[in-house]
Symmetry: C2
Subunit: 169 residues, 2 copies
Amino acid sequence: MRQVAAEAGVSTRLVQYYFETRDRLLIEALSLRNEHDRKRIEGQLPEGASLQDAIRVMLLGLLPLDAESRQSTLIQLAYGIRAVNDPLLAEHVTDHAKPGLEELVADMLAGAQAAGQLHEGLDLVREAGTLLALSSGMSYDVLMGIRTADDAVALVDYNLQRVFRPVSA
Amino acid sequence: MRQVAAEAGVSTRLVQYYFETRDRLLIEALSLRNEHDRKRIEGQLPEGASLQDAIRVMLLGLLPLDAESRQSTLIQLAYGIRAVNDPLLAEHVTDHAKPGLEELVADMLAGAQAAGQLHEGLDLVREAGTLLALSSGMSYDVLMGIRTADDAVALVDYNLQRVFRPVSA
DNA sequence: TTTAATGTGATACGATCGTATCATAAAAGA
DNA sequence: TCTTTTATGATACGATCGTATCACATTAAA
């Protein structure tokens, strides 16, 4: 609380005044960060993006590729651990993820399939789950320096090419 | 330190005696846990396991499917976060992962490919990376209750079937 | 102008924590 | 037997932290 107040250039008392307790402050901060992330990723979507590009942007948005997304990944991890022993916080953490990034990607894949852009014999829901879990799995690796950012991007692209047909030139 | 001593049924002073500092204790504990995990996963390998089964056991071993592996996943996450601001600890954390689970799986895939057990047109190193990142990505989801354990296992199996040919009956 | 909201500053309570110190004792090995 | 290892227990220091309280400003709205 003191550190938050100091960095905000404000009295400790005022932080207490608006947030009451530390737990409330954490929840408010989480929701701000989630909203911020959503806008950041949406902002990376080009105008006439194809479905494949849109999915790619989403997947890369989950990776810690720059300072800002790296911070977001860290925050998500920290909140995740805290949520394990804090049911109230757990709701806020899962509410962000649960509403269905997976269903969203699966729907986008379905659209691409209808347009004949996908290889055949795919289980779209499971492919969506694979792509998302792949990205969040590599997030940890990149954060720890186990894997380079370039390597992670290459692996995302490899899997996109595995699912999408080559674009006809 | 006090809590560790209490749970060990030993005086706080003794914990200090053997580990000197908290940081040393954490590093020792990490290395014990890493060794424990390795043995746990190896112990789940059946005698005459196929390469596919062996890879499957490894992948499932990364998931928090029971109380013990769940604890291991939590510990790994907690150490990971701590390692971000602790270069010394980071070495110990990455040393466990780095030596190349990915290369190990890639080698196993190469063996399966030589035996004609794989589909064609695969990049074995990238498939290995995908499988491993997939599992560790789902670990977080299962831990948070975003995904069920059964769902995670099904997704691992889906990806194994995507790589391996159906076994000839 | 009166009132309510917004803000400051200092100060304190109780709790946790890693670490340090010291005297002392039991057990094991030389 | 002598000495080193292994262990206890109490006690304390300094630091951090979330929270609470109180008096007192400033600003904005009624």
